[in-house]
């Protein structure tokens, strides 16, 4: 009887100490997002991030890599080796953007994969296989959740947009497929985010982080070219036949912003 009384008394004291007279509770980090205004489906952020990245990749592929070849600039998967005087291939540019997102500690993450990858470590596995198969029929994005990773996932078709995509993948010694043609779905870009909704601030921050990652990835390429024996001129001009020149970061990012502004307005501002 006495023991129960003492136990009840101790519990009461502990409850008063911890909950009645205690200082204000610490904020719950997981609830901060929901306290920051109305929430927006994460699909809006994934779509916005993908359209910015897709535009940057298209500009890099067509205006830097394809035109760069005409200006005697080369691009190689061994580009990072100090003795190799080459730039990043488009797929590796995407990987560099993914790395720069991570360096910003962004909640958004970006990956590239395929069912016919050059490197087997880029092959889809598990849930992604079925989702990618469905995507190849209609080329429409697929959205799904991976509870084991606590991630929301968006999968977007990656098309062979330039002759270089087709020839490089068909001719690579480790390619599992040699009959790619323009317009084929060569793989998919995967975006992940840890929550199913975002606040307006998180949406704007996520999009800004993608633009910043693109700027940093392109800056990495420019820095590499300045170590070439015949370094290209960097300024306001794009490479063209006989002109070994490259746009500076501001010019490159301005082109990406020009190409994406109307779509971002519709997707992330007007929600159309």
């Amino acid at each position: 009887m006495m023991k129960s009384l003492i136990a009840a008394l101790l519990l009461s004291v502990a409850a008063i100490y911890l909950f009645v007279t205690a200082p204000p509770p610490l904020p719950d980090e997981s609830s901060s997002a929901s306290n920051d205004g109305p929430t927006i489906p994460v699909k809006v952020l994934l779509d916005s991030a993908n359209l910015v990245n897709a535009a940057a990749r298209k500009i890099y592929t067509e205006r830097i890599v394809s035109r760069g070849h005409e200006a005697s600039l080369s691009f190689n998967e061994e580009w990072r080796q100090p003795e190799v005087e080459s730039g990043l291939l488009p797929a590796l540019f995407l990987r560099e953007v993914a790395s720069e997102l991570r360096k910003q500690d962004a909640a958004l993450a970006l990956f590239l994969g395929s069912d016919q990858p050059i490197s087997s470590s880029n092959a889809f596995k598990g849930e992604q296989i079925g989702q990618f198969e469905a995507l190849t029929y209609d080329q429409k994005p697929r959205y799904f959740e991976m509870p084991s990773l606590q991630l929301q996932v968006g999968l977007y078709a990656d098309l062979a947009v330039a002759p270089g995509c087709v020839s490089c993948h068909n001719e690579h010694p480790n390619t599992p497929k040699r009959d790619w043609k323009l317009g084929d779905v060569m793989g998919a870009t995967t975006w992940t985010y840890p929550r199913s909704t975002v606040t307006d601030r998180e949406l704007r921050q996520g999009i800004a982080q993608v633009y910043e990652a693109i700027a940093r990835a392109y800056a990495t390429y420019l820095a590499k070219t300045q170590r070439f024996r015949d370094a290209p001129l960097i300024g306001g001009h794009w490479p063209e036949k006989g002109r070994r020149q490259l746009p500076d970061v501001e010019t490159f990012v301005a082109a990406v912003k020009d190409a994406t502004a109307p779509s971002i307005l519709n997707t992330a501002v007007l929600f159309q």
């Binding site: 911890l18 200082p23 610490l26 990072r80 991570r102 092959a123 991976m146 990773l149 480790n174």
Partner: protein, 184 residues
């Protein structure tokens, strides 16, 4: 301490947990009762990836953390939590690598190279499950300034690798591509 961390002070990696001890007890009780979604560390917080990368981030890491954060590696992460530094490098154990060193199978069990540079094909090594040989040629983060061997007989001895993953001498190369920064 992990080899190389002898001169690293506690507060270089651990920041104080928010709130008073009373608030921390309160928050964790609420967490246990299901009244809040996140718990709170007592006294000091565990180091984050960002803190590790303050000194160790490298532009050409051959296994960057974000690569294995992809959905396709969900099953692999059950074998080895290679999406965080602490998944393999737990501090205060006196070892370079705290996870088992033969985890390559988690991601590379379907490895097949058409243009294989090694004299014994990677496909054969995978089929024979010779996972202890991988690190004999490949250092995981690729931070040693060296060329990868092209003959399996020249791979470093398994025991030499295991010793290095503990706290032994480095068999790969003396020169590193990037030195750890002394301050973030």
């Amino acid at each position: 301490m992990t080899p190389g961390h002898d001169a690293v002070g506690c507060v270089s990696c651990h920041s104080a947990s928010p709130g008073t001890t009373r608030q921390q007890i309160q928050a964790n009780l609420a967490y246990l009762l299901g009244l809040r979604k996140t718990s709170v560390a007592f006294a000091f917080q565990a180091p984050t990836v960002a803190i590790c990368q303050g000194c160790h981030s490298r532009p050409d890491d051959t296994h960057p953390l974000h690569r294995v954060s992809e959905p396709r590696f969900a099953d692999a992460l059950k074998s080895v939590a290679a999406n965080t530094c602490l998944g393999c490098h737990q501090e205060h154990r006196g070892k370079r690598v705290s996870s088992r060193g033969e985890f390559c199978s988690a991601c590379h069990d379907d490895l097949s190279l058409k243009n294989d540079p090694l004299d014994v094909s990677h496909r054969t090594l995978v089929a024979q499950q010779r996972w202890s040989t991988c690190l004999g040629c490949h250092d995981y983060h690729g931070n040693h300034a060296r060329q990868v061997q092209k003959k399996l007989a020249e791979a470093y001895d398994v025991e030499a690798i295991r010793s290095y993953l503990a706290d032994g001498p480095d068999p790969y190369a003396r020169a590193k591509r990037h030195l750890a920064r002394e301050k973030p």
